[in-house]
């Protein structure tokens, strides 16, 4: 039996990274994720790791690029405007096929926006974010425990596919406290050697970490190789949770914090005799399109709820493919929808055959 400890989401993600064998963190302060780098600055020296506060998010993501190329498990974290700056490094990390984990504790945008919880970076996270043909694997926790588990998994996925993985949380997940347990602890010394890493060309030819392919045919070949990895992710890494979907006639689709709130709304709707259920995407890339598509045969309609003006709803509509109506309800700018507001939407669209 592992002891449970009460931790803030930001700190729990940091400890989870250490438990995953990560010993390197490069970051830059930004609200509402500051507890994460602060925790790392205290903890990493205790385990022989390196915490470095970079001069900017641009520099931090390029330090991650260097450390990942050097073969280390490495983490960076930020919040929305900072993630935009990190996108330069992230595109290179994806292009050079390096594993790294990036945490985005989303706040309201665009621009400087606000500091309250938001989900308005869905497009940026799931459609690549930086320039070029690439994707991040994107995992969206809806509790602090899930943030811990997904962070540990994120390092494995990053290594397996040699691709950056993003933990997409929001200010609520980052700052709330919940009891968590750490089920495993990985010693970095036990991790398999990365034969491609730049760790000195002893007994082998030099390794080169690079994303430049001046010959368009070679670049197309490289991009198609990346594309194959994303197809493999779509086949193997889809994660979602269903709540009261067995007999549902209305499927609410929501992730992260919004999914938690939607569970309350679904329960309230059930009490009113509306057969509502929840599909909670956990992996946002790869998106659980198959289960949503199959659900279209069962339900009358869908309601996507987000803390944005409607981003994931586009992926839901693609998955539903016109089979059933897909409605949307969102709050944005740091406003968090209440269960009552979501219930009102559920009642408005009915969820029952008309």
């Amino acid at each position: 039996m592992v002891d449970k400890v009460l931790m803030k989401g930001n700190e729990a993600i940091a400890e989870a990274a250490i438990k995953a064998g990560c010993r390197y963190f490069f970051g830059y302060p930004i609200t509402p994720q500051n507890a994460l780098p602060e925790y790392m600055s205290k903890r990493l020296p205790e385990v022989g790791g390196v915490f470095l506060q970079a001069e900017s998010e641009v520099a931090a993501s390029n330090m991650v690029y260097g450390a990942a190329g050097a073969g280390a498990r490495v983490l960076t974290s930020s919040s929305s405007p900072g993630i935009s700056l990190k996108m330069e490094g992230i595109s290179y990390i994806a292009g050079a096929e390096l594993p790294a984990v990036i945490v985005n504790i989303m706040r309201g945008g665009p621009g400087l926006g606000g500091i309250q919880p938001s989900q308005a970076d869905y497009f940026q996270a799931t459609k690549g974010g930086g320039h070029g043909d690439y994707r991040l694997a994107v995992l969206a926790p809806s509790s602090v425990q899930e943030a811990v588990d997904l962070t540990i998994d994120a390092f494995d996925i990053a290594d397996r596919y040699r691709n950056p993985v993003m933990i997409l949380g929001d200010g609520m997940i980052g700052q709330m406290m919940e009891p968590v347990e750490f089920k495993q602890e990985i010693d970095p010394a036990d991790l398999p050697l990365k034969e491609w890493a730049t760790d000195g060309a002893r007994g082998r030819k030099p390794n080169i970490i690079n994303s430049l392919f001046l010959d368009p045919q070679k670049l197309e070949d490289h991009v198609m190789k990346l594309e194959d990895k994303y197809k493999q992710m779509k086949a193997n890494e889809v994660r979602y949770e269903l709540y009261k979907m067995d007999d549902a006639e209305l499927a609410v689709v929501a992730y992260g914090t919004t999914a938690r709130i939607s569970i309350s709304a679904v329960d309230m709707a059930r009490k009113k005799g509306i057969k509502a259920g929840l599909i909670r995407p956990i992996s946002l890339f790869p998106f659980p399109e198959k289960v949503i598509n199959e659900t279209a045969e069962q339900v009358v309609n869908f309601l996507t709820v987000e803390m944005s003006t409607g981003q994931m709803v586009e992926d839901v509509r693609l998955a539903v493919n016109g089979e059933k109506p897909v409605y949307f309800y969102g709050r944005t700018g740091g406003m968090v929808p209440s269960p009552e507001e979501i219930l009102a939407e559920i009642e408005k669209i009915g969820g029952v055959k008309r």
């Binding site: 260097g66 490495v74 000195g200 030099p206 080169i208 690079n210």
Partner: protein, 245 residues
């Protein structure tokens, strides 16, 4: 029989893509000779820039990492923090280091990051076709300063070595030139020193190397070296700006 001159082991046999008369080839060779002479080739990780030397990863016969524009010191920082026992160097031009990458070079220097930087200053953007660089001289014509650089409009030639030398982190900052054999020999000594202070754990090091760009300056290779000596040395005086014992 004693070998007095040979092809450096730290260079691959790949033919350089540099223009005729460009001094990048000389500087590559000096870096490679230094790595050979220090016996650290198999423990060295180089970081290539964006700019004319973007393909440097094909030329140095050691582990290499290609950085984005200006970020080589940040990439090198990431590598060095993971492999503190390895030799890490960046090779950067003036657009890369002195313009888009000023934050990264200043803060790597200020942290006393144990990396060595070879900074090639030819007063122009070469790879993109001869645009104005932050190091372009006053009144110098480029494709984006067709009437000559106007200090009032475009600012002044930036003096990176002088700037970095005021920081506490660097252990060695020097400016050298490769416009004639005597200066080439001095340049090699400076590059050797920049690697040596890293090996001794003394701190950050940069060698700024004044270099020519015959193609974009619109000169013959010989004219370009003469132009460097006659025009750049006044603005960018050679010397050691910082050396920690």
């Amino acid at each position: 029989m004693k070998i007095v001159a040979a092809y450096p082991e730290s260079l691959t046999d790949k033919e350089f893509h540099y223009c005729p008369g460009c001094t990048h080839g000389i500087i590559h060779r000096l870096v490679a000779e230094v790595i050979d002479e220090l016996g650290v080739r198999k423990d060295t990780i180089g970081v290539a820039p964006v700019g004319c030397a973007v393909l440097a990863y094909d030329y140095f016969n050691c582990d290499m990492h290609e950085a984005s524009h200006g970020r080589a010191p940040a990439v090198a920082t990431g590598i060095k923090r993971v492999h503190q026992d390895k030799v890490v160097f960046t090779y950067q031009g003036d657009g890369d280091l002195a313009s888009i990458g000023t934050a990264e070079i200043v803060h790597a220097a200020n942290r006393g990051e144990l990396i060595s930087t070879v900074f090639v200053n030819n007063a122009i953007y070469g790879m993109t076709g001869g645009q104005m660089a932050p190091t372009t001289l006053d009144k110098q014509k480029t494709t984006t300063s067709p009437y000559g650089r106007d200090k009032g409009l475009a600012g002044n030639p930036i003096k990176i070595s002088e700037m970095l030398a005021v920081l506490d982190g660097p252990a060695y900052i020097a400016r050298v030139s490769v416009h004639d054999p005597k200066h080439i020999r001095q340049a090699k000594k400076a590059i050797q020193k920049a690697f040596q202070v890293q090996l001794e754990g003394k701190g950050f090091a940069t060698v700024e190397v004044l270099s020519s760009c015959p193609t974009n300056w619109g000169m013959s290779p010989v004219q370009a070296l003469k132009w460097l000596a006659e025009n750049m040395l006044d603005v960018y005086p050679l010397g050691v700006f910082k050396e920690v014992d």
